[in-house]
Amino acid sequence: MADIIDKIVLYLQYPFVRYAVIVGVLIALCSSLLGVTLVLKRFSFIGDGLSHVAFGAIAITSVLKLTNDMPFVLVVTVICAVLLLRTGQNTRIKGDASIAMISVGALAVGYLIMNIFSTSSNLSGDVCSTLFGSTSILTLTSDEVIMSVILCAVVVAVFIMFYNKIFSVTFDENFAQATGTRAKLYNLLIAVIIAVIIVLAMNLVGSLLISALVIFPALSAMRVFKSFKSVTVCSAVLSVFCALLGILISVVFSTPVGSTIVAVDIVVFVIFSVAGKLSVKFM
């Protein structure tokens, strides 16, 4: 045990490990906030769909050789998020089908573009790291860290400011709209926030595993807690805890960061499911 702690202390002296921990914890915090809303609105897979869009956008930026790809990827993802959430109702192609369509479409086109125009010698390595985020969180530059911190702060601030409105719109959209809350506007806001979170989280777990970061803490918290506030707080705490533990484990045992975090999330989910069942039985 002392060995492991020594190892962690040693690694934490490297700036890139500190960056990874800071950004990882912040992203985990943000991504868990909207998880409850997305799960309840039956949009669990929007994270997956949007992250593939972001993957496609990254492919385009790498072809165009843009040095800072984040703004471009962010804009593209936000637009897709708005389109997806907007077409949730009253369209020919229903929500889940349109998510699936955009998701696999962007993935295919992204890989195609990378393959045709690639200048890199290690194409499959690049693709793998974008999909699984295997190393990118450990190679963050200080600019990227600052940008992530700012975006995270904005997301958290917006979420707290609009917390009650997000609750109303999630619980009963028709009621909210009928009584004069601008439900469509807040749906749009949710779409934009989720897009920002996805783009941020790509660095941490890569585009294939983002959904896990968004929905696992929320689902775990929902097993045990009964009010919206307690579920939200609990999922934020869980998410941060899992991310921190996952990053430390992956540093010490040199496992891939993203999948380690998700594995920790899964373990926590199982524990909370059992706890939820037990609390029903004995109370």
Binding site: L40, R42, K165, D172, A178, T179, S227, F228, K229
Partner: protein
Amino acid sequence: MAQLTCKNLCLGYDGYEVIHNLNFEVNKGDYLCIVGENGSGKTTLMKAMLGLITPVKGRILTDGGLKHGGIGYLPQQTAVQRDFPASVWEVTLSGCQSRCGLRPFYNKAEKQLAEKNLEKMGLEKLKKRCYRELSGGQQQRVLLARALCATQDILLLDEPVAGLDPKVTADMYKLIEELNKKCGITIIMITHDIQAVKYADKILHIGDKKFFGTKSEYLQSDISKGFAKGEYNG
């Protein structure tokens, strides 16, 4: 004074007209029942009155100090709500949302209003309980408390007793009647429970044949006999 007037109202979606040329008005303190067969456009009409859809033709006028968003609404429950982690208090308070405008949090007056409405519905002991763990009747009362937070004037109820057992149904009707008689809140209720008709002052029947008038006129008309099939005997 008419609180809500529908003039030559035509409603529909995707180019298909569900309701054609509907005329009726609701006065302050009325208890109006909207009845009709499945598919006759009851829910579409309610959505139009709530401003969720725009009429194809005709107008819905509101008056008597009633502004958009001043209508309280008791919707049918959705699948989302059945596993939603929310406390009774959170749900009730969310009825005050439209009073907040851009203000992010609820103020003291709004919390007191929610408290008062919970008491009115006899729910003060359940305040901290989880909404999804309540019985169907209790859930309806929570939603009613929420609707009362949104309005003091007019309540639209969409099948308020669907899925409730006879005793709870009777309690629910009594509660609604009290709101109407004691608090002077206008009630517009969609139902296909013919029992509900006896509580109303006015009836709007929509479908192939249309009817709008008082309860006694309705009960004497042929249209009610077709609909009620003699089930009504009060």
